[in-house]
Symmetry: D3
Subunit: 216 residues, 6 copies
């Protein structure tokens, strides 16, 4: 097997292991995707979704990649989303997490996670934080260091750093892959028919075109 | 008990029965909320979430309230959402459904259901129909009578009648209460902080104020 | 790899993708079984349960194969059951569906789905329709166009066209593979010990033999 | 509250506790339905689905009511089905069980459990035992003392004592209320329309009438 | 209703709401236990598990009770476990959390949560942290500020502050009520038969008696 | 493929099939891991988690390997744990089981199953049997032949034969792989840091060292 194919193969295995397990009720203690098995080196063998547990090491269950903030977007947000793709140890365990840093005045735009509730713990800072329920009521206020806000599964929520120093939030999810749809990009940057968007938002073709350029 | 209280009580019971059962894996054949039990007449007694199965009748399991379209909104949509509140027979059974009618050119704006996948069956008409995935790709095309499109759980989707006659869609869900967030109203009509919306969508305070009036 | 093996392989992959995912709580937006991957062309590589989402197209999520009735059996039923084997797009999404057409006087014999509730929407016609609960009570009546009847998970149900024109029913399920056991064939056509059947139904050996020929 | 009402009330509470909990994933150690609470004695108070855990006793978690066989039916079967109605201690724990005794030549007719897999352990005797899958294949053979047969969720299965002494089977289920449909009674004793049954089984009106008398 | 009874009643309602909902797949946006409803004031009415959503406020979804450490035990641990009993807003949302502070050298003894995986985020300090799998292998090492360790569902785990200053850990769970068994107290402080404990641990009656005094 | 590799491969397939399926809600009737497929003989092909159902035989669903007790440990326990590794037929069906034999005076030390409730049926003998709940209360008593005790999911439980003859217990679980942690070995034989154990149990370094030798 060429090394390109090997790499592809390793990705397939990881994708597979990530994909096939279901969040509710694991049926083993843990399932580390096996990325370096002898199987892949022999070139003929095949998918081995879990490492033999005897090969697991403590480091497999510790994630060290979010001690510092990630890269900031232009809304002042740096988010490191940790799912089994970058932390294989949580595969099949029904949870994942995120570190979000916000510059002063920075925002995490309205978005939602299709498959998980989120528990947001304010590590530092003062964050205007909230969600919208199915009746279009907003629940939002400033949340301070040491406080926790919950965002129910699948509901639109958002953050804005309203304090005078950087803010850090640790969010955890009850799905290993909660998914995410950021409203501005999902709506205006995805290619939904212009006419439909005009009618949905009461905007002119020109305004829609502008939004499209902004988020496409 | 006064009749007002009785009514309130009946609503509580229904709410309760609707609320407490979990979608996965019912533990009885069915559970009809008991709205007319002797218990409520004696004024002292209490919650009886399921009718005794001997009181169930065939009519409890048939829904006849969507033979004709519902009332149309100003986007040309008439939707009748059927969950246990109006069709108690499906309580605890893990499914619900909707009839959506669209005038010529009418739209069902971008929205999503936090707790269910939707199977949309085109009863009549030609409907531009699609959804957006977590990577902001849109999957959309015109779907004709007799065709079925699937909207995965929690993803934004939308409809627009692009044919020359009214369209009718029968949608079914794998939750008894899928929930719904309509993007325009959830974002601009719910009361999210103006500053945050300005930054999220790149709109001016004036434009945000306009959107707020439109959907508030 | 010979083309026969390739075909076999493709079936294996599809079977696998269908088999391993669990109905509750998907952990990705969708999971299209990858049937034409470069992996299968290189002959050595292996299972790839989900297409890369960048390869997905809108057509993957639309089913067009049931615009007209299927083939009729001798009880006057034409059923097109749509699960991931013929509509890969619904893989892992927790739902599937069926189109059932009934000739005048045609029946769908007593049967049940071991793994799903069914929502039956009458597209056209007048259908005597019902189910039996765990206490052997039948809930049945004639259901008309535009009405919906629910059949709780795992309970025996049945249909008969009692109108004067063909009937069409759209059924949807809260499992991607609800399964089905048709009572006459499951009991008399499967090879259960004759003696046991005689005792169970109070029939003579001759009568059992007759039933066996009829449904074997 | 009169004592009749009290009794009714206690039944309601038990029914309620039994009904509202969902099989997957309990959210407490256990939940004993509280049948003798001060609440019921004060006549006004209300539903208390779980006893305070401090009131639980060891006997709440031991079932002693199946040391000897139950009453035999005319097919030679004595079954004691143990769910939370008679063993409150298993409420919310996701399991239940049954003791089935079979006279020599006795049968447990074809039946299925809509909501559970069954593990059948042969305590004594030689039992012809089997199930039918969704493709109408039967899997059946004689199973001896100390052996175990599994009946997958929702599939028709059956037993017949083919040995020379009484047989005893201990069955356990992965639902606190698996439900049951006995095919002969569900089909011929429930009141399904005669015409439909004639067509489904190819039987004459006279034969159907006979079956109906036998199982009605 | 006397105020004592009212208090009791409120506790019952909360217990009930906490108890009956199942972790997987909520069927509403959220479900705030209604503790001050008019129902409870009228003294006759009864269980209302969820507040009307119009009564919900933002504060219902923010937890502010763990800005500072809780009370320290004699092993140097201060844990504030947050489930729906003290934070009603997370009821039915499938998650809960804990703040654990450890003095220098303090430990969280070996324990496990029967119903949840835990994601442990080190807010500050250096913590020797680990778990044991089903094959009795330990996975443990020192975890530093900003790192995350995962403890798979139901497996024994433990913490010890090995740094030179106090440590703080934020743990989150994928169950609203994960439960906990602390090994020393569960084994030696619960009243398990002495003889059995002697045999299980190879300890003398005197040693067992000592352990019992220590943890009883 | 060499026969060693073939064996390895077969183990991988079984592991994989065992690993990827989730306990709740199977999506097929059954899924026999395919260990002898033509695929494995051609040496190139790959994972086939389920046999084609046409290859299934009755023997696949019957387990005959526990007619007699297993090998006894030095605490007088012989346990045969039956999961899909040794009984492939139960794969994906959400249940497994165990035969436990106890010599006179023999014990099954305190242990728990992270992923399942257990129903323990006393086949013969008198067994002191119990469990500990989350509040450290023990529920224990002598249970006799024909009685059943339930151990809620994830809680520590134990057995001791207090009768005058051997005892046999048939336990069944609502997970295909419940897992197990035996407290003495998990705590003292796994390699948890000595200092932590000393503090947790109040034992001296010497005592800990002794325990470690005993259970390591």
């Amino acid at each position: 097997m060429s090394s390109t194919l090997t790499l592809l193969f390793v990705n397939f295995i990881l994708l597979c292991a990530t994909t096939l397990a279901s969040d509710p009720d694991p049926i083993q203690d843990y399932c580390l995707p096996n990325l370096k098995s002898s199987a892949s080196r022999t070139a003929h063998l095949t998918i081995i979704p879990c490492k033999n547990s005897s090969e697991a090491t403590t480091d497999d269950f510790v994630f060290s990649g979010m001690k510092v903030p990630g890269n900031f977007t232009d809304t002042g947000l740096a988010a490191i989303s940790v799912n089994p793709t970058i932390f294989p140890g949580i595969n099949t365990l029904g949870m994942s997490f995120v570190r979000a840093d916000l510059k002063v005045g920075g925002i995490n735009p309205p978005h939602f996670h299709p498959r998980a509730t989120e528990i947001a713990y304010i590590v530092q800072g003062s964050v205007y934080s909230g969600f919208v329920d199915s009746t279009n009521r907003v629940f939002a206020r400033v949340v301070e260091q040491g406080e926790v806000m919950v965002f129910p599964r699948g509901l639109v929520h958002f953050l804005m750093n309203v304090g005078k120093k950087p803010a850090t939030v640790f969010g955890s999810f009850n799905s290993q892959n909660p998914g995410m749809q950021k409203i501005p990009a999902a709506i205006f940057g995805s290619g939904i028919n212009d006419k439909l968007l005009e009618k949905a938002f009461g905007l002119s073709p020109k305004q829609i075109a502008l939004m499209r350029r902004r988020f496409g």
